[in-house]
């Protein structure tokens, strides 16, 4: 495959498309599939056939349109019309109105802030191509960046582009990607490895799943560019086994790319060789931590080890290893295509580009969004997210999963970036945003996340293994109305100790949900302890039996 071949495939694809009057992409992501999008595709195809329109109109499986709450969704003719809540029974109506205006209940207005306020870079046109087809990706400009880089740029030029973009790791901690790449590139040992971390495990996070399902070639191309830049020869994509569709699509993508010589030996006739393999996680959250992930790929028990040495110096089998999150890799291609400066113009001073967030919880527009860094939480939740359902009052938004914190109303107008979120006791995290209204009890929320951390602690180091269990027990005591103020003191000292003494990020961040809720909702803790009262009515307070005087 050479640049000319890409040109040819693109022209052929466009010529074939030109003969079609309508192309309808129905979302085939996990969320829409669970609300029968497969059957919708079949019903629509049958309907077209019945009307003899199959030569001029096509219905295809596409990627995520973002608004999961309104699924199954579909996009007609590059998003001219966006459909919502499709059922197989709607097929006749949809086909009938292809040339005219579909009924309002099936259509979403394109002027919705949900669509207009987004800036899509990582998810660019993920919804408007067939994730199973390499040619569909190539026709949309795919693999131009890689083949151009391989024949016209040195590996250092590719690397410098990423450095200039100021891209930061999208996995949560926000480590500068360019710095990580150059550390691996400078490491003297060979072979080197590139690992893509797709072990997305935070409750309420599904950004990486969607990218792997809808944009597998984009992830692969980014990964190959990364390998070229750092001089790696082999790569692993670590995907959790709970994402079967993502695994299937990635496998198919790897096979197709290998067949077209976009992966493998002497890619596109150059001296650069790179191959990729998928490794499945077995359900341990801690394997998202990079050193535990390495242990897991090596075939060992998924437990972290102390850093330094960092994987960039000594990673997989002791060799220099570049580990990046899926979303980070999805940002590589547009940066190489448009230049690092272009990317660095978007966002805030220290956080560049866009971030994909997964909105869930008590919010109208549950789904996936991509917004520029520096947007306020209020814009995300009330404009793009459509606000809180049932006229309830906003209480807090949880970012960063079990490692993050709860952000109260007073910070809604703060611009979102790595530093600002950290300054108010939360983290950017991988991008999960759980919105809570007045029906949520913050003690219960803290208890939920602590239970998660306790269950997912690997058990290697004492503070995390015992500390999370002790903190969970204390939170249970508080939520059941059995706690005293002394318990609160102990809880706070445990939070401090576990944070500073745990071996890896899981333990170091496990107290965050407690610390942040204590910081902003201390009165709720006190109400549980002193008044034995849960204002939200969530906690089951066990009252002492009344003494009966005879």
């Amino acid at each position: 495959m050479h640049l000319e071949d890409l040109q040819r495939i693109t022209e052929e694809h466009h010529a074939a498309e030109a003969g079609l009057k309508h192309v309808l992409y129905v979302c085939s992501g996990t969320a829409c599939q669970s609300s029968r999008s497969d059957e919708v595709v079949k019903a629509l195809q049958a309907e077209l056939k019945a009307r003899g329109l199959e030569a001029t109109c096509e219905v295809r499986q596409g990627g995520c349109q973002g608004l999961c709450a309104r699924g199954p969704m579909a996009a007609l003719d590059q998003g001219k019309v966006v459909y919502q809540h499709l059922t197989p029974e709607d097929a006749p109506t949809v086909v009938e109105t292809l040339d005219s205006q579909p009924p309002d209940h099936l259509q979403l207005p394109s002027t919705m802030p949900f669509f207009t306020r987004q800036v899509r870079i990582a998810t660019q046109i993920a919804g408007l191509l067939d994730p199973n087809e390499l040619n569909s990706y190539i026709a949309a400009g795919g693999y131009q960046a890689l083949l151009d880089a391989l024949s016209n740029k040195t590996s250092n030029e590719v690397l410098q582009e990423i450095v200039r973009s100021n891209l930061r790791g999208r996995g949560g901690a926000g480590y500068p990607t360019g710095l990580k790449w150059s550390t691996v590139a400078k490491a003297p040992q060979t072979p080197k490895y590139v690992v893509v971390n797709g072990d997305e495990g935070d409750p309420g996070a599904f950004m990486d799943r969607s990218l792997m399902e809808d944009y597998p070639f984009r992830v692969l191309e980014g990964m190959t560019l990364a390998a070229y830049a750092v001089g790696a020869s082999y790569g692993y994509i670590y995907v959790r086994a709970e994402y079967p569709l993502a695994v299937k699509r990635l496998q198919s993508a790897i096979k197709q790319a290998q067949k077209q010589n976009l992966l493998g030996s002497n890619i596109a006739g150059t001296t650069f060789s790179f191959n990729v393999e998928i490794r499945l996680g077995a359900g341990a959250f801690v394997c998202g931590e990079e050193t535990a992930l390495i242990a897991s790929i090596e075939g060992g028990r998924g437990t972290p080890r102390p850093r330094p040495p960092y994987p960039a110096e000594s990673g997989l089998w002791g060799k220099p290893t570049l580990i990046n999150n899926v979303e980070t890799m999805a940002n590589i291609v547009p940066i190489i295509q448009n230049g690092g400066e272009w990317f660095a113009e978007i966002g805030t001073e220290k956080s560049k580009g866009t971030k994909v967030f997964a909105l869930s919880g008590r919010i109208n527009n549950t789904g996936l969004i991509e917004v520029p860094m520096g947007i306020t939480l209020r814009e995300i939740i009330f404009e793009i997210g459509g606000g809180i359902p049932d006229g309830k009052r906003f209480k807090a938004v949880q970012t960063g999963g079990p490692s993050g914190g709860c952000i109260p109303e007073q910070y809604l107008d703060m611009p979102v970036d790595y530093e600002s979120l950290a300054s108010i006791g939360s983290i950017m995290g991988s991008g999960g945003m759980i919105v809570m209204d007045e029906t949520s009890c913050m003690v219960d929320v803290a208890k939920y996340f602590m239970e998660f951390s306790m269950a997912e602690s690997c058990g290697k180091c004492v503070p995390c293994r015992v500390g999370t269990a002790q903190m969970y027990d204390l939170l249970c005591k508080i939520s059941e109305g059995r706690a005293t103020l002394d318990d609160l003191v102990l809880l706070e000292s445990l939070c401090d100790m576990v944070k500073h003494t745990s071996l890896c990020g899981l333990g170091q961040a496990a107290p965050n949900p407690v610390v942040s809720t204590l910081r902003y909702f201390r009165d709720e803790y006190l109400a549980h302890i002193t008044e034995k009262r849960c204002a939200a009515g969530v906690c089951q307070i066990k009252h002492e039996p009344l003494e009966v005087h005879s």
């Binding site: 058990g459 503070p463 015992v466 500073h500």
Partner: protein, 238 residues
């Protein structure tokens, strides 16, 4: 060849080789840093977190057992905060299992007990968890009482790295982690165990013991380990 560096530990000027850990250099100079999972001759895992130290210019606390010394480094091993954390770690270990010293075969010869005494712990500030754990007495000569186990994984490492049998391993995760032989079969039925007894000798508590000992009678002799490790390294040419 490793370079020689000079550094400060608790204000005291010391020297070390670049490939030595802070713990090595501290011990050579008579500075005590408590440890429970570390043992000379075994690989270091940095799991017990007792040897955490402060290093000037580093925001995080780092485990002395796996952190290499560097030129000009300033280490502090004895701050009020470190002592507080160390006490809490030991209290956590006591609260996690069922440690009843007066009836323990290792009473008086127990590293956990010694560490608690050295840290002047006179009570446990968090609730005991009282887990239900079964004793494994199926082996002919040795026994395992998981109630006294602190999951330091010394036995796992000595069995894997020195004896080469890898009979021991950890099963489960988090607070439910437990020590198992083979694939969680009773010790006595293990097909890999060579009954060498190294695990018993290096166990810091009374969790692994020789049958027939009574309260306070079980003394451990881990001194064989550095010699064996040295001979093995020499054979491997490193």
């Amino acid at each position: 060849m490793s370079r020689v560096v000079t550094l400060k530990i608790n204000g005291q000027d010391v020297s070390g080789r670049e490939d030595e850990s802070i713990l090595d250099v501290a011990r050579e100079n008579g500075i005590e840093i408590p440890t429970l999972c570390q043992l000379d001759g075994l690989s270091n895992v940095g799991a017990c977190r007792l040897c955490l130290v402060e290093i000037v210019g580093v925001s995080r606390l780092l485990p002395a057992c796996v952190t290499r010394v560097a030129e000009g480094m300033e280490v502090n091993t004895e701050s009020e905060r470190l002592l507080r954390y160390r006490r809490m770690i030991v209290e956590m270990l006591f609260s996690e299992g069922n440690h009843v010293c007066p009836v323990c075969i290792s009473n008086g010869h127990c590293e956990l007990q010694d560490t608690a005494i050295a840290l002047q712990i006179n009570h446990i500030g968090m609730p005991y968890r009282f887990p239900v754990r079964q004793v494994d007495a199926s082996h002919a000569r040795y026994g395992l009482d998981p109630n006294r186990c602190i999951l330091c994984t010394r036995c796992v490492r000595v069995c894997d790295e020195i004896e080469g049998a890898h009979t021991w391993d950890i099963m489960g995760r988090g607070i439910a982690s437990q020590l198992v032989t083979d694939l969680a079969t009773p010790w006595g039925e293990s097909e890999t165990c060579t009954s060498c007894g190294k695990c018993v000798q290096i166990c810091p508590t009374g969790a692994l013991f020789i049958k027939g000992k009574s309260v306070g009678e079980m003394t451990k002799r881990p001194d064989f380990l550095p010699y064996l490790a040295m001979m093995r390294n020499r054979k491997n040419g490193s």
